[in-house]
């Protein structure tokens, strides 16, 4: 399934906040963000969490047991943000 408008916006935030050497369109919605796939590391995840907190008002905690699931792909991260962002 192609990226939604919300996923495209989040993909752009990922590219900008991490200074990725790729465009937002190149992030596959279902591809892994961490390690293999997009190749992000732990500093990237912390950086991205800060950018998400500032942009969406959603706090991502380093000790959240669901982090592997939340950060597993652009799609899962976007779903988490949309479920938890202040109405």
């Amino acid at each position: 399934m192609a990226a939604s408008a919300q996923e495209k916006e989040l993909a752009q935030l990922i590219v900008t906040s991490l200074n990725l050497e790729m465009t937002a369109d190149e992030i596959e919605p279902e591809a892994p963000l961490y390690g293999e796939g997009l190749g992000l590391d732990s500093i990237d995840i912390l950086e991205l969490s800060l950018a998400i907190s500032k942009t969406y008002g959603v706090q991502l905690k380093s000790d959240d047991a669901d982090n592997n699931k939340i950060f597993s792909s652009l799609r899962s991260l976007n779903e988490h943000i949309q479920q938890h962002r202040p109405k």
Binding site: N19, L20, E21, D41, I43, D44, L46, L50, S53, K54
Partner: protein, 265 residues
């Protein structure tokens, strides 16, 4: 007196796009034309580090890489001495801005880059080295301190050392109180013994009292030398570019200076 040999040189500054491209300018046979420093992220770095690299990392790795290519030496077996008056001045400015504004959440990448030995860390990743590494700052005497430390390590430890000096301007308002004229870096690979790759001998003495600092003959290069702490080493590069014996004075801290004699090999 400490005697060492120069085996490789790296340079990157405004209108000085590499040692090879700048030799004639430094020798005075081609006019100096100022132009913005051509900064680029090093292809020595893995992708994650490359995209986090700020100006000082780009300067340090570019000049280090050029020096090692010239010397044909293995980066893995060479000790490093880094020296910079301020380190990552863009990063200092950005963190100050973040801390002055609620909610004062500092970017992990900015925090990671805020230590003075960040350039050394990136170099060790890029070069794949576990050799000793020293990172110094000594305000306007940062280059002299780096040369003195390198010469001491070459002499005492019988080690080959790469000296990497770099500085770049602060954004305003810090620029007004600590002006640094341009982004500039230079590297010297220094060995304890003469090799077939040796370019010149350098003898270094620390001397008490203020000496008459050696200036650059070209006004633009002299403005660079006097305006950037890391560029205080430019007269040394000019002597190497001319390929002539020379005696230089570079100011050190506390009213001391370095007396430097250079002779081509």
């Amino acid at each position: 007196m400490m005697r060492l040999y120069v085996e490789g040189i790296g340079l990157l500054g405004p209108g000085l796009d590499g040692w090879s491209a700048s030799r004639d300018v430094l020798a005075g046979t081609t006019p100096y034309v100022a132009a913005p420093t051509s900064l680029r992220a090093s292809d020595m770095l893995p992708a994650a580090e490359r995209r986090r690299a700020g100006v000082p990392i780009k300067l340090a790795l570019a000049v280090g890489q050029e020096a090692f290519l010239q010397a044909g030496r293995d980066t893995k077996t060479t000790s490093t001495v880094f020296t910079s008056s301020g380190g990552d001045n863009d990063n200092v400015h950005a963190i100050n801005g973040i801390l002055a504004t609620a909610p004062r959440e500092v970017s992990p990448t900015r925090f990671h880059n805020s230590v003075h030995n960040a350039a050394a860390g990136y170099w060790c990743i890029a070069a794949g080295t576990h050799e000793p590494s020293t990172s110094l700052c000594a305000y306007d005497a940062s280059f002299a301190a780096g040369l003195l430390e390198s010469a001491t390590q070459v002499t005492v430890d019988d080690a080959t050392v790469v000296l990497i000096a770099y500085d770049h301007p602060y954004p305003e308002p810090l620029n007004a109180v600590r002006p640094i004229a341009a982004a500039f870096g230079m590297a010297l690979i220094l060995t304890p013994r003469k090799t077939e790759k040796s370019l010149a001998t350098i003898e270094v003495d620390i001397v008490s009292g203020n000496g008459q600092e050696t200036a650059m003959r070209d006004a633009g290069l002299e403005a660079l030398r006097s305006g950037v702490p890391a560029a205080r080493g430019l007269p040394l590069l000019a002597a190497l570019a001319r390929g002539e014996a020379a005696q230089l004075c570079i100011a050190y801290l506390d009213d001391n200076h370095l007396d430097i004699r250079i002779a081509p090999c």
